[in-house]
């Protein structure tokens, strides 16, 4: 089944000098396991090559936080020199998390259903 990351996760991004910094959050443990497996640094680097100028995995640092059901990605050189230096409308990189949530995913039918249900249940009570 085809999904978007936004269907099964939430995210926030910000800046630190010329680095974009993204927190990605699963809605439940099953979601976290899938995200941790699929969202390799290489895959995220390819997704953001237009910002970092490199599709190499080394342009992205990934950190895992299983107790928080979270992954963190730090994109080197992604902000056109940083907030006070950038020409972009979004000079602070606040919308970069949304770009990540656009990522298309192809998941086995059953996995996808489980994760969508988990997300729906978590959102109901959050």
């Amino acid at each position: 089944m085809k999904l978007r990351l936004a269907d099964i996760a939430h995210a926030r991004s910000g800046d630190k000098a010329d680095r974009a910094d993204i927190g990605l959050f699963a809605w439940d443990e099953a979601g976290y396991r899938v995200l941790a497996e699929l969202l390799t640094p290489e895959r995220v680097a390819a997704h953001f090559a237009h910002l970092t100028g490199s599709a190499e995995g080394s342009s992205v640092k990934r950190y895992t936080l299983p107790h928080l059901l979270a992954l963190k990605f730090v994109l080197e050189g992604a902000l056109s020199g940083g907030a006070a230096h950038s020409l972009r409308s979004d000079n602070l990189g606040k919308t970069i998390a949304a770009q990540l949530l656009r990522m298309p995913l192809e998941l086995p039918e059953e996995t996808a259903r489980t994760l969508l249900q988990g997300a729906r249940a978590a959102i109901e009570v959050f």
Partner: protein, 461 residues
Amino acid sequence: MKTVRVASGLGFYGDSWEPVKAAIERGGAQYVCSDHLAELTLAILRKDMAREPAAGFTRDLVPMLMSLWPLAQPRGVKFVLNAGGLNPQGARDALVAAFQAKGWHARIAVVTGDALLPRLDELQAAGQTLAHLDTGADIASVRERLVFANAYLGAAPIAQALAEGADIVLTGRVADAALFLAPLVHELGWSLQASGPEGLDKLAQGLAVGHLLECSGQGAGGNFGSAGAWARVPDLTHIGYPIAEVGEDGSALITKAPDTGGRISFHTLRQQLLYEVHDPRAYFSPDVVLDMGELRLLDEGADRVRLVGARGHARPETLKLVAGYEDGWMAQAVVGFCWPDALAKAEAVVASVKQQLKERRVPARELCVEHLGLDTFLGPHADRSQADELNELWLRMAVRCDDKRVAEAFPRLFPWMALSGPPFMGGFHGVGAPSQLLGLWPALVRRELVESQVTVSLTEV
């Protein structure tokens, strides 16, 4: 067990203090800690100060305290604010004048010593290279263009000011979370010199609390990055900024004032916990290095989350310094086109502007082209399937130049197109003054070289 309640003030220069009223009036706040200085803000204050030497602090300070002090004073609520920016004494003077005019009384402390621009030669003579933290580049390459250089101070001088009886502490650059850690240290008798795991873990809990609270509403469900779920956060219009109740043993509960909007939960808090921290296993601050690897956020009922498991490691021997240097000028223009062929017409304008820049030999170092409303934020991940049938499109072009006058000339490349360019141009924005661009220069400096010059001074109004 003794506990203390610290409340979130502003999260940036320009933020609202309306929600702070609820924290004071019915949230049990004992301290309001207010972060006015994003990484970029000193650059803005520097521009202010260039126009007016008495400026250089965030101008929201006085109106904010004019509004909040009458609520805070009878309840004994104290303030810690980094609103001093580049001019903490100027901030103090402005506040003193405003309090005097009202006949109000307060003890106002000022922390100075973070501003290092006048001391760079001395620091280099003392063996500090001030090389760029990420690239290792020599600071000589930007030395003549530096406009500020400030170290991130820790909690110690703020805690000292509180111990000396300050009601309001004004600082320049300090680590954001130190604004919150300081009252915890002061009230709960923690040691900033802690070296054992027990003491360090308490400081780490305090730092995590500070980080959760330093961005005001972002710690209470504001800017909740999600598809759909954001709309379930109740009543953002009346959001309650987060409040932490912290115990002597480091236990911490995050909550907010009753009858306010927003949401404090596992989901909203972890977005803030990881916000802009870079390596969550080693989040550096001047007072402790926080490891979030075992940290847990446990829902304890509506809008109550327990924070446990922050681990602390010994503070670094260096402080971080961030300097800003002048790096050219930005000019921009925005033009709107209506259907038909909105995108094609915008692209024709881009081609024309590029041609004009070339023919006039304009020394533009960089050109930024954005299709506002189409793909500015999502870039190549935007859906462009309707791009040929857009109802309308705003084109934004921005340019980077070394010379201010070149930047000023850039928007003049556009207006003629209203009569002589593609049809149905519906608006033109962009004859404003160009803005100066600044590069940021992070570096490390040995802490004793800075801390030996930090001063705390108390004024009674």
